[in-house]
């Protein structure tokens, strides 16, 4: 019998997923809006519901450092952060993939300072986009829970062994109470094998991890990590399929909505995609041929899938939620443009920045994007536009 959803805050659902996965070590430092995740995990550990070591570290830098140590020792490892916390982790974020330490990191995405702001955008994750992590974006609570479970499976695969970040929009997703199906422990156990770290810190088989590489080896070691990250896309797809089979909820690296005959295709990531779909329904009713591509897998970037989905459109309107300073396009748009550059008859690509520092993204904003795109087709666009900025 199909399980019924229960009403639960998305942050708590992520913590419940970590419990269902039997994480061994959680090392975390509080920062808004991530705190509900680790508060709930602390509670689960305190109540004996999760048999894990909870390390209440003194900073996010130490959180990620401890996670690297824990993962290198062979433990299933989880942490969570936001914004300034991710920025403080930055140095460690770049080290974890190359040391091949699988860690699941939930990021309740929040704007970076300055000015200090606790609300949602994607500037935190974009500051580490090139670090070598697998990165996924959830649209809703069910997806946040499911992707947490899948993140452990993907990252810990012997042919991957990479850290994975789960991105959930701070507050607008992390703090919402949604109907979410929580699987049984047994179901998750059947889906998620034990973390079999073959290369780890083990006194019976001593190895050295984190050696100094000089010019004659540095390039090759960096490339080796990139090769693994690029190859991980197929493994991500495999795990998505296995998950679909086991739980009946199906995931792809990108999702499409009413895009087949669309002349204008919006590209989004994260929870605003649901608002975008509502806006598209309304615009379709008014006769506009608009559709949506939602990117779920941000790293490794799904170039082929996006190319195939976008190449037939006339106009692609890419939404970025990160203020790129001193450059013409935001990070998502940059990737889309480079993916489409060598297409025979590429669509026009326009870039819109919206929803910075928690400013509401409304249906009308997507309509504005479509209207602007229609007029830009005639005149072009040299760089991004910020939707709804007061000047």
């Amino acid at each position: 019998m199909a399980k019924k959803p229960i009403g639960i805050e998305v942050s708590l659902a992520v913590a419940e997923a970590v419990k269902l996965c039997d994480a061994d070590v959680v090392a975390a430092y509080p920062i808004t809006p991530q705190t509900h995740i680790v508060e709930h995990l602390s509670e689960l550990v305190a109540n004996g519901e999760l048999d894990a070591a909870y390390i209440p570290v003194e900073s996010e830098h130490s959180a990620m450092s401890s996670c690297i140590g824990s993962s290198a020792a062979g433990a299933r490892t989880f942490t969570a952060t936001s914004s300034q916390g991710l920025a403080l982790m930055n140095e460690m974020i770049y080290i974890a993939p190359v040391l091949r330490t699988p860690i699941v990191l939930a990021i309740a995405n929040r704007a970076l300072s300055a000015p200090i702001n606790i609300w949602n955008d994607h500037s935190d994750i974009m500051s580490v986009r090139d670090a070598g992590w697998i990165a996924v974006f959830a649209e809703n609570g069910q997806e946040a829970l499911d992707l947490t479970i899948m993140a452990f499976k993907i990252g810990e695969r012997p042919d991957v062994r990479l850290p994975v970040s789960l991105n959930i929009d701070g507050f607008t997703l992390s703090h919402f109470i949604e109907p979410i199906i929580i699987p049984d422990h047994e179901e998750v156990q059947a889906f998620l094998p034990p973390n079999e770290a073959t290369v780890k810190l083990d006194v019976a088989n001593p190895i050295s991890i984190g050696l100094l590489a000089n010019p004659e080896t540095y390039t090759e070691i960096r490339k080796a990590t990139d090769d693994i990250l690029l190859a991980s896309k197929d493994k991500v797809i495999e795990v998505f399929k296995e998950f679909g089979k086991a739980f009946g909820r199906h995931y792809r690296v990108i999702e499409t909505y009413r895009h087949e005959d669309a002349e204008i295709v919006l590209v989004t990531m994260g929870s605003i995609s649901e608002t975008a779909m509502t806006a598209i329904d309304e615009m379709r009713e008014a006769g506009e041929k608009v559709g949506l591509i939602r990117i779920r897998l941000w790293r490794p970037f799904p170039v082929e899938e996006l190319k195939a989905a976008l190449v037939s459109a006339k106009v692609v309107a890419v939404v970025d939620r990160h203020m790129v300073m001193g450059a013409p396009n935001g990070p998502v748009c940059l990737e889309i443009k480079s993916a489409l550059y060598d297409a025979l008859n590429p669509p026009k690509v326009f870039n819109f920045i919206m929803g910075l520092g928690g400013r509401d993204v409304r249906r009308v904003d997507f309509k504005t994007v479509v209207e602007r795109s229609k007029s830009l087709v005639k005149g072009g666009q040299s760089s991004f536009e910020i939707v709804g900025v007061y000047e």
Partner: protein, 316 residues
């Protein structure tokens, strides 16, 4: 059981560990390096049943150029300022994996090794966090060569007063380092950890026994180890052991333990040699005038008296 009563197998001249060094030869340390000598003895004392975590620094760089490694135990290097945090993660992982029956059920000490910069400056926060959290099988070793040697002899907060370094140079308007050495063992002891000790490679059995004791006691342990650097101190390489002896016998670097907050001076120095005899071997102090040396002597006298008072007030 009081930490002071926890038994451990003592190293003596007769029972000195035989066999391969845990830290293999062929590493790239400078000639006469007192730091790698101290490290080799510490590791040899622990055998092979432990996990080492290194901070970035001389000892990491000189032992681990890919594809070679001097480490015959599991070894992890992540970055400069976080050896304590990385070791916390390893230690916690081993505990929970052991509890869950995923690894053999025996205590495996996790030994974090860092220099004075990685400990007293950039790593102080991570170290404080680790000491405060009370990781049970956690030993932190600060190998103190009193400056940032790996990057070219820059001053740290552990550089002694008057020392000439590349960022505390002596000059017409400067006597070199113008601050007094940060008292790291006192900072570690202030966390209320079960075991803090100082050691010097000239007193090698004392040094080796202290890490054994640190491994035997449950709870975070902090070892502050004097690590002479002939290159950085502008000293003859053959003097590393000699100056490791003089620094103790002049009361500049007393050997002591703080066990559950109780102090014991391991080597009482009743007839100290003048600090001038220690300073004169090292080019980094060459510019000092007699009145500067007097100032240092007075400070050393005061600090040693304070230590004697602590040992008298809080005996083991």
């Amino acid at each position: 059981m009081r930490s002071a009563d926890v038994p451990y197998e003592k190293v003596t001249a007769k029972t000195f560990p035989k066999g391969l060094d845990t830290l293999a030869s062929g590493h790239r340390a400078c000639q006469g390096c007192g730091e790698v000598l101290a490290l080799r003895l510490l590791l040899k004392s622990l055998g092979s049943e432990f996990i080492a975590v290194s901070a970035t620094g001389c000892m990491e760089v000189c032992t681990s150029t890919f594809p070679q490694s001097s480490w015959r135990v599991p070894w992890l290097h992540v970055a400069f300022e976080n050896a304590a945090a990385v070791a916390s993660g390893v230690e916690s992982a081993l505990h929970v994996l052991r509890k869950k029956g995923k690894i053999p059920n025996k205590r495996i000490p996790v030994v974090a090794v860092a220099g004075d910069g990685g400990t007293a400056d950039i790593g102080l926060q991570a170290l404080s966090g680790a000491l405060e959290r009370g990781h049970r099988d956690f030993i932190y070793v600060c190998l103190d060569n009193e400056a940032y040697m790996n990057t070219g002899i820059q001053r740290s907060s552990a550089t002694p007063f008057g020392a000439n370094t590349t960022t505390s140079p002596s000059g017409t308007h400067s006597k070199g380092q113008h601050t007094w050495k940060k008292n790291m063992p006192a900072i570690a002891a202030a966390h209320g950890v079960p075991y803090v000790a100082t050691a010097s490679p000239a007193f090698h059995l004392d040094l080796m026994n202290k890490i054994r004791r640190a491994a035997a006691i449950e709870g975070p342990a902090y070892l502050h180890v004097y690590a002479p650097c002939p290159t950085g101190w502008r000293m003859k390489p053959e003097l590393a052991v000699e100056c490791s002896r003089l620094v103790v016998n002049s009361r500049i670097f007393p050997l002591y333990e703080v066990i559950d907050g109780h102090y014991v001076i391991n080597r009482k120095v009743d007839n100290p040699i003048p600090v001038a005899d220690y300073l004169k071997q090292q080019g980094r102090f060459r510019h000092l005038k007699p009145e500067d040396v007097e100032l240092i002597q007075a400070r050393v006298n005061l600090e040693y008296e304070n230590l004697v008072k602590l040992a008298g007030t809080f005996p083991v």
